[in-house]
Symmetry: C2
Subunit: 354 residues, 2 copies
């Protein structure tokens, strides 16, 4: 079993790099911070993510630079050190191919992908607990040494993450499906609203808000992510185009109900497979709707009352349609808790709907 002793050199002190530094620093591991932008490294150092000057050779290098540069920096670090090198890019095949083109021996390189993030960027958004309980994919390639794989797993565990090991190809197809394709579909749907009349936007409900939320993400970053995974994405987008054509043909027919229902049914089959809280399918939870006046303190009162019922609120959502003076809170709880929850809330005067 390889031990993570440090020092760990972090190249790239944005959100991910700084957070890894903070997580390791809390365990007493020596962390060296490197960034092309000296201000970033300085900020990361000031908030306790490590030091800019470490005299000892690193045991492990973590490359957390923007996606386009990962392969080159991995190759450079393999050449400049004897350390195990990993990276944190969200696509794994392109950095591997880039590094392979630039250097010979890749046995000390093991790609990885900590699956946590934030809408905030930069070192000041860094957090020691960013990876607590998150999934961290580890993607060895054919020539990765077992010791190197082990050390990267230690890193992920030290940061508090749950590791999943899979091949580079499988990882990239997986994130294409559950992250990159949803992002592009969200962007395409949102794109049709850019020039829409305001009167159309006034008809918006919760559905369009949910579908388009992630489309607000940084286009420059997403261009890099999507470009790096173009292989896996192209196959999925062609599949989508096939379904879109089927949809268009069906909509053009007089009687196309069965075909439409089949396409929509396929969507239901996929939607219910998306894991909810703690990996349990959301279908196992029961939701309760509570009407709530829109003023301070009401949520506090609601959750205090809910807590007294003994129910653990597993998920919640506020519905806030334009112009509604009252809100509606949807509480999801385990089926066993629902009766007690409804009874207690009703007793306390809440308007509750199941």
């Amino acid at each position: 079993m390889t031990e993570l002793r440090g020092p760990v050199r972090i190249v790239g002190t944005g959100l991910i790099g700084t957070s890894i530094g903070l997580a390791l620093a809390r365990l007493g591991v020596v962390v060296e911070l490197v960034d092309g932008n000296p201000d970033n490294a300085l900020m990361a150092e000031r908030i306790g993510a490590g030091s800019r000057l470490v005299q000892i050779e690193p045991q492990l290098v973590v490359v957390a630079v923007p996606p386009d540069h990962v392969g080159a920096v991995v190759a450079e670090q393999l050449q400049q050190t004897d350390a195990v090198v990993t990276d944190a890019a969200s696509v794994k095949s392109k950095p591997l191919a880039d590094a392979r083109r630039l250097t010979g021996d890749l046995s000390r390189y093991v790609g990885s992908h900590p699956m946590a993030g934030s809408e905030r960027n930069g070192p000041l958004a860094g957090r020691a607990d960013l990876f607590d309980g998150a999934t961290w994919a580890i993607t060895p390639h054919e020539t990765s040494s077992p010791d190197a794989v082990d050390l990267v797993r230690r890193l992920a565990e030290a940061a508090g993450a749950r590791t999943v090991e899979m091949s580079v190809e499988d990882h990239d197809l997986g994130v294409a499906r559950v992250s990159h394709l949803p992002h592009l579909m969200s962007a395409l749907a949102a794109g049709t609203l850019a020039d829409a009349p305001s009167s159309h936007l006034e008809l918006s409900g919760q559905g369009v808000r949910d579908v388009t939320r992630i489309a607000a993400g940084d286009p420059t970053l997403w261009t890099q992510i999507v470009s790096a995974n173009s292989g896996a994405l192209t196959g999925l987008l062609e599949q989508i185009r096939g379904e879109l054509d089927r949809l268009l043909v069906a909509l053009g027919k007089e009687e196309a109900g069965d075909e439409l229902t089949a396409i929509l049914g396929q969507g239901v089959s996929g939607a219910v497979r998306v894991p909810g809280k703690h990996g349990t399918p959301h279908i196992d939870l029961v939701t309760v709707l509570v009407t709530i006046p829109d003023r301070p303190g009401q949520l506090a009162k609601l959750f205090a009352d809910a807590a007294e019922s003994g129910a653990n609120v597993e998920d919640l959502r506020i519905d806030h349609s334009p112009g509604r003076p009252v809100g509606e809170v949807e509480l999801a709880v385990k089926p066993a808790s629902v009766d007690q929850l409804v009874d207690v809330l009703t007793d306390r005067g809440w308007v509750v709907h199941r």
Copy 2:
């Protein structure tokens, strides 16, 4: 000004019809309940939405039957009564065209669309407050009489809704954009997950959950909705296909960054136009992240502490990635409240990130 005196006949006692009945009954308006399925009408009557036997001729008929049958029932009611007739279907051009084919004078018909719903169906899901503060679109056609339009507006107001008047065509294009197209995009994205390996689903985060949530909706109902609005939807889907082709071409190129960024940027422009709570763009709110242990009572404590800071929580979201032992709550508040909120929560021992 036309007054809503009643009786109001409601044809179709599902969620929408029953809720309209309950809303009118609380104002003392006499409501007659009609349903092809006598059990439904009986249930609606039992929960107080009106009576199955009313001897007086109706002043207003509300047709709230499944989308495919609306036009025929509207025509029938126009022929059988002297009442103003409206309907509650979510697409307005098809019922109008169907009714026009079946009857002569449509001056007493004014379409409308109460924009509220629930994941629950049937009379027992009915609620007197379903439309409180919701948007209710009123869509007169060229021959609708002004008195009829007035009476339908009174109905919507009596149910507690905010009315928006627009043409049939404008309404259908609007809902195609903000409701039906997002639904289809969600279904297509979710459809690619139906046969995906479980290891791919393990990589799911909040993004794919949001994008695919509405795809879980009833395929039979959505087939009717989408078919009824095929005209407006076809145009939008063709626009999507054009963008999808652009995306595929861009992904196939070596250097396609600018094109991808343009497509993603268009998505950002659309996403930020979707109204958030009370019609304000979500961009005006500041979000604060709070780490929260996953056990009963913690949300109550958090909201009690938040309330003491004086901040009104405008929106919230729980992030619950698979396997995370702790959750993260995102609170959205007005910029003016954020400093005080962060100070109070930090004082009380919460781990808070801005």
